[in-house]
């Protein structure tokens, strides 16, 4: 295989690898973000039910720290969806007031939770910086002041398992496409650069006969015909001048 052809094929392979790799990367991440969003919004549906109850209690004048029926309701809602691992309600300082995991009451939530909740532009917030994924809702009173937050912890493995399965399949599809491309593209390239290679071969062949004195080969219709003719003519002229000198030297004896 010619060096130039090899280089062109390498270009095709590098570009194909980039394009197919990027497409697989995009599809995988799109899948991951979509499944994340679906699961997160599903978890938040559970949270909305609790939030509505808290809101209703607050509007009746009850204190946020004194909602005695809330833990039972949270436990009921948690059992409604196997994905939810725990539900916590914490105040603005990050202290847990209610939790489906009673041992956590009184503890502080990780600071990433409170900062994610405070950073969010809407009432919904989420963070994936802890072991479990967390989706939450800011709880506001009648004056639109945030009195606390609701956090639903749900299984990271479940989401990642789905993403891994999809990722593996997308990668396999990409790999198969790349292999097919690696076979087809060089063949297509060979067809396309045939004319260019023929031009180069003509040129090389002509160059190998540059010093032949006999008639030049007929024009091959290559892009280099003109250049080859010029080369041959220049060499012929120079040789002719040297032949003339030779003849004159011979004649002088």
């Amino acid at each position: 295989m010619g060096t130039i052809r090899f280089r062109f094929i390498m270009v095709a392979l590098v570009v194909s690898f980039f394009a197919v790799g990027m497409a697989a990367f995009l599809n995988y991440f799109k899948y991951k973000s979509t499944i994340n969003n679906i699961v997160k919004s599903r978890v938040l549906v559970v949270g909305r039910g609790i939030e509505n109850t808290v809101q209703a209690s607050l509007q009746l004048g009850m204190q946020f720290a004194e909602l005695q029926q809330l833990p039972q309701m949270m436990a009921r809602e948690k059992s409604a969806d196997r994905l939810v691992r725990a539900i916590d309600v914490f105040d603005t300082s990050g202290q847990i007031l209610y939790s489906t995991d009673s041992g956590r009451v009184g503890q502080k939530v990780p600071t990433v939770w409170t900062s994610a909740a405070q950073r969010s532009k809407s009432t919904e917030w989420s963070t994936d910086e802890t072991d479990d994924l967390v989706a939450g809702i800011s709880i506001k009173n009648a004056f639109d002041l945030t009195v606390g937050y609701l956090a639903l912890r749900y299984s990271r493995e479940e989401v990642e398992r789905a993403a891994t399965t999809a990722g593996r399949e997308i990668m396999l599809a990409a790999l198969a496409s790349f292999v097919a491309l690696a076979i087809v593209a060089p063949l297509a390239l060979i067809v396309v650069i045939r004319r260019f290679e023929r031009d180069l071969r003509t040129l090389e062949a002509a160059a190998s006969h540059l010093e032949d004195r006999n008639q030049p080969p007929p024009a091959a219709g290559s892009a280099f015909d003109g250049a080859i003719n010029h080369l041959r003519a220049s060499l012929r002229e120079a040789n002719k001048a040297l032949d003339d000198l030779r003849a004159k030297l011979d004649a002088a004896g």
Partner: protein, 702 residues
């Protein structure tokens, strides 16, 4: 002789084949991805619909527990509406009684829904209060049915999921795939040039030169090492033919000289024709060794393209998401608005580039272009890597400053590399190559950077830029270590303060610089690097979308600049192109007065790209035309040095001005105000240059 565009025709054909193959491969990947999405996402969405359904059912049961008859529920339609609003993939919802008679519904009822409601398997769900939910596909919808039961079965709740929601998810990916395709095309052309074309073009160019030399009678032999490829072998054959001629010539000359030494009288007369023939040969042909030419491999300008492209790409990749990243690391600085703080890293970067360039030019001359580029790229790599690990805004400013310094070093040294290896005849060609590498990086960088930032995050994207900058170091290391610049050559110098001051108060110079060059840069960095990335994210879009927008700008530049440069050169009325360009740029932001829709923003970037493309080439060429008197007094280097300095200060001012405008008038107001400023400058420039007779100078601006 070889046709000028012969190689480019070959490249385009190759690029076409590669693109077709890539499109087919992408279609295959998309098809399989669709299958995976369908199979995995539909059950998850059904599960979500069941959770939402359970919430709706709880509301229904609460109402019936208060004594509202199940068939007379109030507000079911509105509840369904709220569900659709929060979950756009749900397009139909209904409640039927236990017999399958429709009681309440919202959304377009699919064909076959009534039959489905009455299907025995579905009615069985309603009669079994312990049943969870059942999924069925009806028409184009995926339905889930769940029982509503208190102490007895009341009915069935149905939620329909749009069957096309998976298509819609993939449609969002499609835009990014199109971007990948466009970037792949540019990558293909760059790689063709880097991996094959540079050597091929150089080999064919050398072949062409050899043919010309031989046509002119020059048969001097070169002692070059030829590559072991088709062109190398061809050149070796030509070298061999020339060598044979030279040997023959030397032999004949030696023989004649020998005979002349020993010849006397008539014998000497007999050699006269041979002597005349030799004289004739000497007058027509040249033999012997060719002088050591500077046109060797070191002179191959193409070799600068790959490292420059890789390096600029690393920086351009950050354009679409840098302001959002800064926003994330924002630290309150007392007395400074957050909007200004977000613009600070861009501003400082541009300021370092502007102030550093005049001095870095002579520095890179002293240490050598290649070494300067290596140092610059290494500093920038550290800057990118450290930015990816930044703690807060303060250290980010430091790391971006390092990036700016590295960028300025590489840019100036690469420019010097081209200058050192070009003369008057091929300088324009050299700079076309230099600008070409930058423009391609500008097309590919922001879009790919935006996609990366959206998917792997800002920090990891900066790490990718660091890797790209590191790759550029490898490519720079392959550049020739020898410097073709003669030690006796006059060193370039930065403009002196008195020259700067004199030019600052020069009306002709400042008309061009203050009314055209600086406003053009202010709107470029203010809009493209600051406002567009922040505004797009603020209206709920992604960094990838910001990247696509910036890509529109870059594509306009790539397509229009060569055309406008040719047209303005031919017409010799470059001032008109600058005026029109400035006015179009100035009108761009005004579009946001009409509407703040996304399509209008696209129009803003499109017009800005068009305006800048029309004026950019003509602007620097106008310096020679407009300021020939100043060039005569202060010298070409000083005038262009001050021009470039002020132009780049415009780059630094852009984000500052834009951020101040955002404080007072918000994003839309800032777009309009910055554009209005450029429009006023454009009109003032038009009036100031009206009737001005320009001297026809063919400028080759560095």
């Amino acid at each position: 002789m070889l046709e000028k565009n012969y190689l480019w025709r070959v490249y385009w054909r190759l690029a076409g084949v590669i693109m077709v193959s890539v499109v087919i491969a992408l279609a295959v990947v998309s098809y399989f991805s669709h299958r995976v999405f369908d199979r995995e996402l539909v059950p998850e969405t059904e599960q979500k619909a069941a959770t939402v359904g359970a919430s709706v059912r709880a509301l229904v049961l609460k109402a019936t527990s208060w004594g509202v008859p199940f068939t007379q529920l109030y507000g079911a339609d509105q509840t369904f509406g709220d569900v659709f609003e929060e979950n756009p993939e749900f397009t139909y919802a209904a409640i039927t009684d236990s017999d399958g008679t429709l009681l309440f519904s919202r959304g377009r009822e699919p064909d076959g829904a009534r039959e489905y409601f009455h299907a025995p398997s579905i009615l069985a769900v309603g009669l079994d209060p312990t049943a969870t939910w059942k999924a069925t596909k009806v028409g184009n919808l995926y339905f889930i049915a769940m029982p509503i039961a208190s102490d007895k079965p009341l009915g069935i709740l149905h939620i329909g999921i749009d069957g096309k929601f998976v298509d819609n998810v993939l449609l969002e990916v499609l835009l990014d795939v199109v971007v990948v395709l466009v970037v792949s095309l540019f990558f293909t052309l760059e790689l063709l040039n880097f991996m094959a074309g540079a050597r091929l073009a150089s080999g064919l160019g050398e072949f062409g030169q050899q043919v010309e030399r031989m046509r002119s009678g020059d048969f001097t032999a070169t002692a070059r090492v030829r590559a072991n490829d088709e062109i190398g072998r061809l050149l070796r054959r030509i070298d061999a033919a020339i060598d044979h001629l030279n040997v023959r010539y030397e032999f004949l000359v030696g023989e004649l000289e020998d005979k002349l030494r020993s010849a006397t009288g008539t014998r000497r007369d007999a050699l006269k024709p041979a002597m005349t023939a030799l004289e004739s040969i000497r007058s027509r042909f040249r033999f012997g060794s060719a002088p050591a030419s500077a046109e060797g491999d070191e002179m191959n300008l193409n070799r600068i393209r790959a490292p420059l492209f890789a390096f600029i790409l690393a920086e351009e990749m950050t354009r679409s998401y840098l302001p959002s990243y800064v926003n994330q690391l924002l630290v309150a600085i007392p007395g400074v608005s957050p909007q200004v703080v977000i613009g600070l890293p861009i501003m400082i970067f541009m300021l370092i580039v502007a102030l550093g360039q005049p001095y870095l030019g002579s520095w890179s001359e002293r240490v050598g272009r290649r070494r300067a580029m290596l140092i610059g790229a290494s500093i920038a790599t550290v800057g990118f890597a450290a930015t990816s690990l930044a703690f807060n805004l303060y250290d980010l400013l430091l790391w971006r400053s390092l990036g700016g310094l590295g960028y300025a070093m590489v840019f100036v040294a690469a420019q010097g590399y081209v200058l050192d290896r070009t003369g008057h005849t091929n300088r324009a060609q050299g700079f076309a190559l230099f600008i070409g590498a930058i423009m391609v990086a500008t097309v590919c960088g922001p879009s790919i950077g935006g996609i990366l930032a959206d998917n792997i995050g800002f920090r990891a994207s900066f790490a990718v830029s660091a890797v790209m900058a590191m790759l550029s170091i490898l490519a720079i290391a392959r550049l020739p270590a020898t410097e073709p610049r003669s030690p006796a050559a006059r060193p370039s110098r930065a403009p002196r303060m008195r020259e700067v001051m004199a030019l600052l108060f020069n009306k002709r110079f400042m008309t061009l610089t203050g009314l055209a060059a600086m406003p053009a840069k202010v709107i470029l960095t203010g809009v493209c690097f600051y406002l567009v990335p922040l505004y797009i994210v603020s209206i709920g879009n992604t960094s990838a979308m910001a990247g696509r927008m910036l890509m529109v700008y870059a594509v306009m530049m790539v397509m229009i600049v060569p055309l406008s440069a040719t047209l303005s050169d031919n017409s010799m009325r470059r001032d008109r192109y600058v005026s029109i360009g400035l006015i179009i740029s100035g009108l761009s932001g005004m579009l946001l007065l009409v509407s703040d829709s996304f399509l209008v923003l696209f129009g803003v970037v499109f017009l800005l790209g068009l305006g800048q493309a029309l004026s950019i080439a003509a602007q620097s060429a106008l310096v020679s035309e407009h300021c020939h008197e100043e060039i005569r007094i202060y010298g070409h280097d000083a005038v262009y040095g001050v021009y470039r300095l002020l132009e780049r200060l415009g780059n630094a001012m852009g984000p500052l001005i834009a951020s101040l405008l955002v404080i007072f008038w918000g994003y839309q107001g800032a777009f309009v105000a910055i554009s209005a400023m450029v429009l006023v400058c454009g009109i003032a420039f038009t009036i100031a240059t009206r009737g001005y007779e320009f001297e026809p100078v063919t400028a080759t601006a560095p």
